[in-house]
Each structure stands twice: as C-alpha cells, then as structure tokens.
C-alpha cells in the first residue's frame, strides 16, 4: 500500500465531493438532493479512512469518526425523508423549485 500513497485517495474523495455538491445544486427532485448529500458524506468518510491509514496518529480516530458519520448520516437521511414525505403530502410534489415560500 505504501507505493500507492495518500494522494489518489484524496483525489477520489475530492471527486466524489464535487459530484455530491453538483448533485445537490442541480437536481430538482428532493430525493436527488438527498442522494447528493449522501455522496458528500461518503466522500468525507473516504477522506477520513485514508488519513487513518496513512497517518499513524489517527489510526483509531479515523475509523471511529467514520463510523460516527455513517450513523449520523443514516439518522439524517431518515429525518430528511420524513420531511420530504411531509412536503409531498402537503404540496403533492417533490420539486424543490416549488418550495420557495421563504422567498424575500
């Protein structure tokens, strides 16, 4: 593994992160936005585990963090979905463009 180095993993993580951000910024479907969020979180997790592997100071911490993030992502996905369902029940649509009642 040593000849692989850290950078490729970080590059992959950056790519996943960018995909996630673009997904959030460009999907009209609320569930699509949620998927973008999942991508972002996963990118962060990859980053954490890569550092855990390549930095001896964080061998344990990286994994612990990753596990916590996974759990919290799951929780957050549950709540987000509940909100989306609520929104669907009230407005009969999941189009985020229709959720602009906070318009100034």
């Amino acid at each position: 593994m040593t000849e692989l180095g850290l950078q490729p993993f970080l590059a992959l993580s950056a790519f996943l992160f960018a995909c996630g951000v673009v997904c959030i910024a460009s999907k009209r479907n609320a569930i699509g936005v949620l998927m973008g969020v999942e991508l972002v979180l996963n990118a962060a997790n990859v980053n954490l585990v890569a550092f855990a592997r390549y930095n001896p100071a964080f061998q344990l911490e990286g994994q612990v963090f990753t596990l916590l993030v996974i759990v919290l992502a799951a929780a957050e996905a549950a709540v987000a979905l509940a909100i989306i369902l609520n929104f669907y029940n009230n407005h009969a649509t999941v189009d985020v463009d229709q959720a602009d009642e906070l318009k100034g």
């Binding site: 985020v96 959720a99 906070l102 100034g104």
Partner: protein, 834 residues
C-alpha cells in the same frame, strides 16, 4: 445641641437659612396632596378626607401661619446671630473657624494637587495642614459683619412682610375669586367662547403665595451667607425663578405674565455676563471661594521680611524672556511705570515654603520676577491677561446690573409691579434687587479700577434717569419702582467711587424705608379697593391716618431729612462722590448727577405723598369707600417706620459719620478699599460738612418745589391728565427705552425666526385651493433638511430592494452560493499558504 452651636456659632445662620426651606417643603407637600386628592373630593373615601384635611375647597390658612412663624423664628435667629457676631471676642483664624465652614464639595475636578515639596520637608516643624485640592464646586458659608447685618435685615423685613401679607392677600382665601383685571385686559378675546358675558373666576391661591415667598426667602438667605461664587450663582437663579413666579402670580392677566417673562429674560441676559465672569475666575484663579479669590488677585500684606512694599494691591507685570527650562516669566515694569502691564499676577494661595515668603516689590528680597508654569494651579504664581481680568469684573457686574435693575437692564423693574404689593416690597425693593449691590460689595477686591469706574458711571446714569422718569409717573407703585431703581444707582455709584461703607449702609437703610413705602402704598391700594392711580386720590390723610403718617416717615427718610436713617447713608454717599469729583476733576459728572438727583428725589417723593394724602379728593367714589387697613397690616408699617427712623443712629446723633451701623459695616470693609481710595477718603473727611450741607439744601429746594406745585396749587384731575409737552412725554414714556428695545432687538429676532420658519415651510402645508394642482416642495428644502433625510431613507429602501433579489427561496441557488463561498475561501486559503 448647644455644644454644636457653641463651637461654630455660624451654624445658627445655617439653621435660619433652612427654616424657610422647611416651610416651603411642607407647603409644597400639603398643596400637592390636596391637588392630587381634588378629583376624588366628592366620593367619600380616603382621598376625600385627605382633601378636606388639607383645606378642602377653601385655601387653608394654616400653611401661611406656619410659614410666618418659621420666618419669625429665622428672624430671631438672625438677630441673635448678629448679637453674637458683635460680641464675639475671638480674632484671626479662630474667628474664621467659628464663623465659616466649607461644608461639602459637589464636584471634584481632577486629582488632588501634590503638596509643594517644602511642606513635606517641614511638616514636623510646621503643624499647619497642607494646602488645597483640585478644582471643586462646593457649598459653604462665611459670616462676617456685613453678612450678619444683611441677614438680620432680610429676615426682619421678610417677617414683617409675611405678617402684612396675611392681611393683604385676604382676597385669595375665598373659594372663588373674580379677577376684574383679567376681564379688562382680555376684552374682545373670548367673544366666541363659553365665557361670553361672564366675569373671569378662579380659585383662591392663598397658600401658593406663601409657598413662593418662603422659597424666595431661603434663596436670598443662601445668597447672603454664601462663601463662593458658585453658591451665589445658584441662589441668584433661584431668586430669579421666585421673582418670575411671584410677578406672574396673577398669571391670567396678560400684563402680569408678560411682565414675568420680561423680568426673567432680562435677568438672564445679566446672568450670561455673570457666567462669563465665573468661568474666567474658574479658569484662571482656580477657585470660586471669595477669600481664596481675593488672596489670589491681591498682593499679600506682609511677608517674611516685614510689611510688603505694595500691600493688597493689584500687581501688573509684563511678559519677559522665559527661563532656561522653558517656564514663562513675568517681570514688574520699571519703577516709574508701576501700575501698568499687560498681565495681572496671581499670588499663590499657599506659598511653596510657608516660612519664607516674598512679596512683590522693588529691592532685595522682593519679587520682581514671577515664574508662572504653563499649567498654573493654586499653589503657584499665575498670570491672567489684564484685559481678561477686566472682562471678568465686568461680567460679574453685568449680573448685578441685571439683578439690580441698572441701565441698560432696568426695564423689567417697573413692569414687575404687576405682582402683588408685598412681593414688590420684599423682592423688588428690599432684598432681591439688593443682591446685586451686595455682590458688588462682597467682590470688591476682584474689580480693577476700570471696572469700578464703569460701575460708578452706570450707577450715576441710572440714578439720574430713573429719578427723572419718576417725576411724572401716575401709578403709586411705578413711582416707587423708579425710586428703587434710582436709589440702587446711588448704591452702585457709592461702591464705584470708594464709599464702600456708604453704599452698603444705604442698602440697609433703603431696604427698611423702601419696604415701608411699598407696604404703605399697599395699604393705600387695599384701602381704596385696588385703586392705584394717584390722579384719583387725594385727601386720604383723614381716612387713613396711620398709613399717612408712616408713609410720611418713609418719604422724609428717603429725601434725607437729618436724623432719619436715610440721611446718614445719603450723606456719606454724597461725601464720597464729592471727594471723588474733587480728586478727579474730569469725572465731575459722578458728583453732579447724584447731587442733582437728591433734589429730584425729594421732589417726586413729596409729590407722591402730597397728591395721595393731602388736598381735596379728586375722585369722590374712591374717597367715599376708602378706609384704614386692619391692624395686621398697620402694625408692620409702624415697626418699619421705627426702623426707618433709628436704624442708622450713632453717637453723636448729628454726625453722619458716626452711624453705629456704619461702624459695624466698616469692620468687614475689605482692605482693598482703603488701598485704592486712600486719598479720596481723606478728601471726604475734609469736605464732609460741605457735602452734607449741599445735599440738604437741594433736598429742601426739591421739597419746597413739591409743596408749591402740589399743595398750594391744588391740581385738578384735568390738569393732571392733560397731555404735556415733548419733554413731559419723553419722561412719561420712560425715555423710550422699551420702544428702542422693541425696535432694535425684539422685532429683528421675531423676523429672523419667521425667516427661518419660512425656509422650512412648504407651500403644500396648506391644502391647495380647489382646482389648483399641488405645488412641489421648495427647492431649498429639497437640497437641505427634508431633502437630505428623505434621500437617506430612500437610499436605504433602494438598497434593500436590490438585495432582496438574492432571496429566491430556491434551495439550489442557496446551495450554489454555498459551494461558491466554499470554493472562494478554499482558494484564498490555498493562495495564502502557497
């Protein structure tokens, strides 16, 4: 408790000053409770019973009795204090400790000054406490002979006037009072209101009168015992307010309310000058305490090497080359030019080294050189530009000009007669207007010779002018008002030409006989049912004998009949004026005018008395219903008459210089008077009899002329009311001062105000006539006040509208913005760490 007074007998005065304040507070609380409970007065309940306890619908007289009793108590304390002051054998600093106290400091500015080093070094051998602290405003009192005498005078006269008012203000004890004067003055104004055809009615205000009067007495007494200019100023303003309240006592009369405004505003003009003087004193002298200011301004009397070469004088010096370390230096002028110089040197309050003090002078061991540090304080020498010192004196004097109704701030005093007569007697004859003269007397060492000359001239002009106006007035109180103005001019003149004792003696005697004259006129007015025009009187001698006799005593006193109190003081004033005129021939007016006015005074005072009390009655209606006043009013008259006769007696009786009161006053004469006017005092002593004789001759001529015109030849109502020549009208219209002020000051101010208002008004404020379009706002307004403010508001609204575009409510926009921000921040961080 006696020990408390025994150690500091001056505390008697403190108690006496606070007694009227106690009366004021109690009356205020009682009146306040009563008016707060008035809305509930028919509802039966706690408020209702409180209302009836505190008087109910009719004003309660208890408050007035209480105020009178407390005032009488203060008078007793004042006289006791005077006796104690006269019999106290202590001298020097022990006396100062017993009769003066610096009670508390209100405001402390800056840190305490460091004690001069020599004091620290010698502290074991010299137990005197180290000197003063930073600038402070404080309260304190100082009783010397002058203060004791004036205090006793004020309290005694106040008590008598309180007693007089119990009778004079009887009308105000009614539940409902109808004021016909208001009807007369506002005729036509309420033509469409609910009062058409009705007489004006209001509730009685008996208690309020005594409330204001008590406050006034407290303020006046505070002024008398004050030991620093700040306390004087506070009392100054307080008496001004009380004067305003009392002149406008019948405030529904437009004449009364305008007169009150006029008095207050004109006083304020004088107070502005006073403030300028105080500020200069505060800045340069560093203190407002009288004793300390005098020590600063005048050279010491003695130093470590004996008597000073120039004791107690104003030392002037010129700026010279600074010392090597940069400290500015001032130098006495050459010996033959002594007394000139661009700056006045201020002496340190406490010297650097208490055991080795030099005084200014020429020769060894005398300071010709003064080192004045850049930041002067009270323990170093100081230098004030001489012109600024003169301005300070003029400023303080301006306050006195306003308060004592001297030219040009005299126009308020005649109008102040709108107030009830006891008010005129107390405030505008005996006490408040005397405050100005008292202050001039107190602060005498602070006045440069130029200022004293100004004081003398203003006094001279005033005394002459007011006397000429009084010759032709037809209202009893107006004659007496102008007479007061004139006599105050006498006092100012006396103070300006070196007759310090003369001026202040006249203050005391004048207080007594002027109060007597005013109270007599009040008695006449009361007896004639509020008739004040002497053209309608005549022959009242038989109807009101006590009033007539006591008024005659007053008239004789003011005219200067020998052996009456007025003669002693007037004699001394004329002697001082003559001495000054002889020594300074080019100031002959300062002698000529008072001598002439002595004659004029006798003339108009006798005219007043003769027209009122002798001859045949000119208005039978008035004469029919005239009656003598009740005893509560005539007894104060008799007491005051006794005082007017004998208050200035001395032994031998026929020697005007021997007045006992004058000798008492002489004990508190500042040394500066003797220093500045030594030669004039010599001359006065020589020419004393000549001056007295001259004054007496002129008074007799004046009285004779009055008898001739008004007793032998009985004037009829027609001759009295006939329009006279131009000179007569000039005098009747008070030398046209009011008209000049109106044209020169009042009109331009109102025009300026109207112009300023026009700049702000829009033509659209009034609705446009029907059919015409609305006009746009004026261009001037668009560019300035309104336009600017509106622009600011519109700009903010515009920016808000522009910023609103960002809030789309769309999630994706927000996310893009978030991402953009993250990218930017990351980029910046990367760039910075590259």
């Amino acid at each position: 408790m006696l020990n408390w007074i025994d150690t500091n007998p001056g505390r008697i005065y403190l108690v006496a000053t606070l007694l009227p304040l106690v009366a004021f507070t109690l009356l205020l609380i009682g009146g306040g409770i009563r008016s707060a409970c008035r809305p509930y007065r028919r509802q039966g309940g706690f408020a209702d019973s409180l209302y009836w306890i505190f008087g109910g619908d009719k004003p309660l007289k208890t408050g007035a009795y209480l105020a009178t009793v407390l005032m009488a108590l203060a008078a007793v304390l004042g006289v006791t204090g005077l006796v104690l002051v006269l019999t106290d054998p202590s001298e020097g600093s022990l006396r100062e400790d017993r009769w003066a106290e610096r009670l508390t400091s209100w405001v402390h500015l800056g840190p305490d000054l460091p004690t001069p080093t020599e004091w620290d070094r010698k502290r074991e051998s010299d137990p005197t406490p180290p000197p003063l602290v930073a600038l402070k405003l404080e309260l304190g009192y100082k009783i010397d002979h002058l203060a004791a005498v004036v205090f006793a005078m004020v309290t005694v006269i106040s008590t008598l006037i309180f007693i007089f008012s119990l009778g004079y203000m009887q009308d105000e004890t009614e539940v409902v009072v109808a004021d016909h004067e208001v009807d007369r003055q506002t005729v036509g104004r309420h033509a469409s209101g609910p009062h058409v055809g009705q007489h004006f009615q209001r509730r009685g205000r008996f208690g309020r009168f005594f409330l204001y009067l008590s406050l006034f007495c407290f303020s006046m007494l505070n002024l008398v015992i004050a030991d620093n200019l700040f306390q004087v100023f506070v009392s100054w303003e307080l008496v001004g307010i009380c004067s305003f309240l009392l002149i406008g006592f019948y405030y529904e009369r437009p004449s009364a309310s305008t007169a009150a405004n006029k008095a207050f505003i004109i006083n304020r003009v004088g107070d502005a000058g006073f403030l300028v003087g105080i500020m200069i004193a505060w800045t340069y002298l560093g203190t407002l305490n009288f004793e300390e200011m005098f020590t600063r301004v005048r050279s010491p009397i003695a130093d470590s090497h004996g008597v000073a070469q120039f004791p107690n004088q104003l030392i002037r010096a010129n700026a010279a080359e600074p010392y090597r370390d940069g400290t500015p230096r001032y130098e006495l002028p050459p010996r033959d030019e002594f007394g000139t110089g661009s700056h006045l040197i201020l002496m340190p309050l406490v010297p650097e080294e208490p055991s080795h003090v030099h005084s200014p002078g020429y020769g060894p061991h005398r300071d010709q050189d003064f080192a004045v540090p850049a930041s002067q304080n009270v323990t170093t020498y100081g230098a004030i530009p001489y012109w600024l010192f003169v301005v300070m004196g003029v400023g303080i004097f301006l306050g006195c000009v306003g308060k004592s109704a001297q030219v040009p701030l005299h126009t308020w005093l005649p109008d102040a007669m709108e107030g009830p007569t006891p008010v005129s007697a107390l405030i505008h004859a005996a006490t408040m207007v005397a405050a100005g003269v008292y202050l001039v007397g107190r602060s005498f060492p602070l006045f440069a010779p130029e200022v004293l000359l100004v004081i003398a001239y203003i006094g001279a002009i005033t005394l002459f002018m007011a006397a000429t106006i009084a010759l032709v007035q037809t209202d009893i109180k107006r004659v007496l008002a102008y007479s007061t103005c004139s006599q105050l001019g006498f006092m100012m003149l006396a103070l300006g030409v070196g007759g310090w004792v003369a001026g202040l003696l006249h203050l005391i005697t004048h207080a007594f006989f002027k109060a007597l004259l005013f109270l007599c006129s009040g008695s006449v007015i009361h007896g004639c049912h509020h008739e004040q025009d002497i053209r309608k009187m005549g022959g009242l001698r038989h109807k009101m004998p006590i009033t007539a006799f006591t008024m005659l005593v007053g008239v004789l006193a003011i005219a200067g009949m020998p052996l009456l109190s007025g003669w002693y003081s007037k004699d001394q004033i004329i002697a001082a004026a003559m001495a000054y005129g002889l020594d300074h021939q080019h100031h002959f007016l300062l002698f000529l005018l008072p001598v002439l006015t002595t004659g004029l005074t006798a003339f108009y005072m006798f005219r007043l008395w003769l027209l009122t009390f002798t001859g045949s009655p000119r208005d039978t209606q008035v004469h029919e219903h005239a009656q003598e006043s009740p005893r509560v009013m005539t007894i104060p008259l008799i007491v005051l008459a006794v005082f007017s006769i004998g208050v200035a007696w001395g032994w031998p009786l026929w020697n005007a210089d021997a007045s006992y009161l004058g000798e008492i006053l002489k004990k508190s004469e500042p040394a500066a008077v003797a220093v500045a006017f030594a030669h004039e005092h010599e001359t006065a002593h020589h020419y004393h009899l000549a001056a007295g004789g001259l004054a007496l001759i002129l008074a007799i001529i004046g009285a004779g002329l009055a008898f001739h015109y008004f007793s032998r030849r009985q004037p009829t109502p027609e001759t009295m009311s006939a329009p006279g020549g131009a000179g007569y009208r000039f005098l009747l219209n008070k030398w046209y001062w009011d008209e000049a002020y109106d044209k020169g000051l009042v009109r331009p101010t109102i025009q300026l105000a109207q112009a300023a208002a026009a700049a702000d008004k829009r033509p659209t404020d009034a609705p446009p006539p029907p059919g015409e379009p609305e006009l746009p706002p004026k261009r001037f307004d668009l560019l300035t006040v309104d336009g600017l403010l509106n622009t600011v508001g519109q700009a903010v609204a515009g920016v808000g509208r522009w910023l609103r575009i960002v809030q789309t409510g769309q999630l994706r926009m927000y996310m893009l913005a978030l991402a953009l921000t993250a990218v930017l921040l990351l980029g910046i961080l990367t760039a910075l760490t590259e």
